[in-house]
């Protein structure tokens, strides 16, 4: 097995086998469960409301996935350094690139686990409504670059700052900033600045696509621009992570 796979396997093991990792997954499932249970009590939903619920669940899954990615990414380099487990890794016959790519592989697995964990919830709330298949597909297609991008960004910060706390705070502030337009609502996003921000914000791109596909039943061809925004985000954060590890003295 390649060193990258070995490190990715270790990272995945930490998520799936350690108490801390399992507790994270438990917390994720509880949040999704609470969201779903709130719906059970509401019997006045229209078909449109159901589509909005599916859209809301997709947005929540993407946000939770990004949050987990930020936590894992912030710990990736700085956490190992603080616990003293980074130096032994650097003294093994691995390149720094192997270590970073392995950590990124761990991020991919973490998103995969989050996505699989969320599928039963999506099915439960959306199976009687519209566009469930599209919801599942678009969550994978757009959710992945957005979530992984946040993970790589946090990993880069972890390398630069050398401190888990500093990396986590900075990454969380960025996440909140990019998620903020969604909290403001469509009215406030109609200004010139709001529109520009919406256009370049990967989080907005993903969530607006979910809206268009699940609620308005728009086709893929109308989402290509937004998909491109999420891909650019992914590429930029990948570059940032690799560059940060290179220039930081880890």
């Amino acid at each position: 097995m390649s060193p990258i796979s070995l490190i990715a396997r270790k990272e995945s093991g930490e998520l799936l086998k350690s108490g801390r990792g399992l507790a994270w997954l438990l917390a994720l499932s509880v949040i999704l469960s609470v969201l779903s249970l709130l719906l059970v009590s509401n019997t006045e939903l229209s078909l449109l409301d159901n589509a909005q619920v599916v859209y809301m669940v997709m947005g929540t899954i993407t946000a939770l996935g990004a949050l987990l990615a930020v936590v894992l990414g912030s710990d990736a380099i700085a956490g190992e350094k603080e616990r003293g487990s980074l130096v032994p890794l650097l003294l093994a016959p691995l390149s720094t690139s192997d270590i970073v790519l392995g950590k990124m592989g761990g991020q991919v697995v973490a998103w995969g686990v989050t996505y699989l964990l969320s599928l039963p919830y999506l099915w439960a709330v959306g199976s009687s409504g519209q566009n469930l298949f599209e919801a599942i597909a678009y969550l994978a297609l757009l959710g992945m670059p957005v979530v992984l991008g946040f993970g790589f960004y946090a990993l880069g910060l972890s390398a630069r700052f050398g401190s888990v706390r500093a990396a986590l705070i900075t990454a969380l502030i960025t996440l909140m900033l990019l998620a903020s337009p969604l909290l403001l609502g469509p009215g406030l996003r109609q200004s010139a600045i709001g529109k520009v921000f919406d256009a370049v914000n990967p989080f907005s791109a993903a969530v607006n696509s979910f809206d268009s596909v699940v609620i308005d039943s728009q086709p893929l061809s109308m989402q290509l621009g937004r998909f491109l925004v999420t891909l650019i985000w992914l590429v930029m954060t990948l570059w940032f992570a690799r560059r940060s590890v290179k220039i930081a003295e880890i």
Binding site: L22, L25, V34, V40, T43, P120, W123, S128, G129
Partner: protein, 174 residues
Amino acid sequence: MKGITLCLGACLLLIGSGAAWAAERLEITLVADKTNPPSPQMGDHMKFVSVIRNNSTVAAQGVVAWISLIQMDPGHEQPLDLEDWSAHKAVTRTSMAPGEQITVEWPMRLIQAGDYRVVISAVERSTPHIVTSPFIDFHIKRKPVVESQRILPIAIGVPLILGMLTLWRIRKRA
């Protein structure tokens, strides 16, 4: 004096009859399509068909016809925004020749349960009021879109399984 009164009366009669004659220039019919489900429920598709005919001897200019949907549930009466129900909300014609008729289909997806009334309205340039079709009332049955039999096992089961896994892991460690 008598002559002026008679003249005025004749003018009024002419204007009145002219108005009555103009109101009948457009005629609109509305029927439910035969393929509509007999007992529609949320998520179904329905279609209404209307025929707009120019009954006059003069061409009707700038004809605009549109569909309106009104919720009739007692206490919840309101006109509905057809944004999510239908993409086909209106037709226009620059001119309709005397005797010309157009058939228009009005498809829609049934988004919400309740009692509804659908009507087609039309105007043309020289008629000073709206012309409407007869109403069609229909009921949309509720379809459960959030099935608790599906949600409850997932919402309770997934955290339960993960919780047991976490506990087992902690016990194994101890």
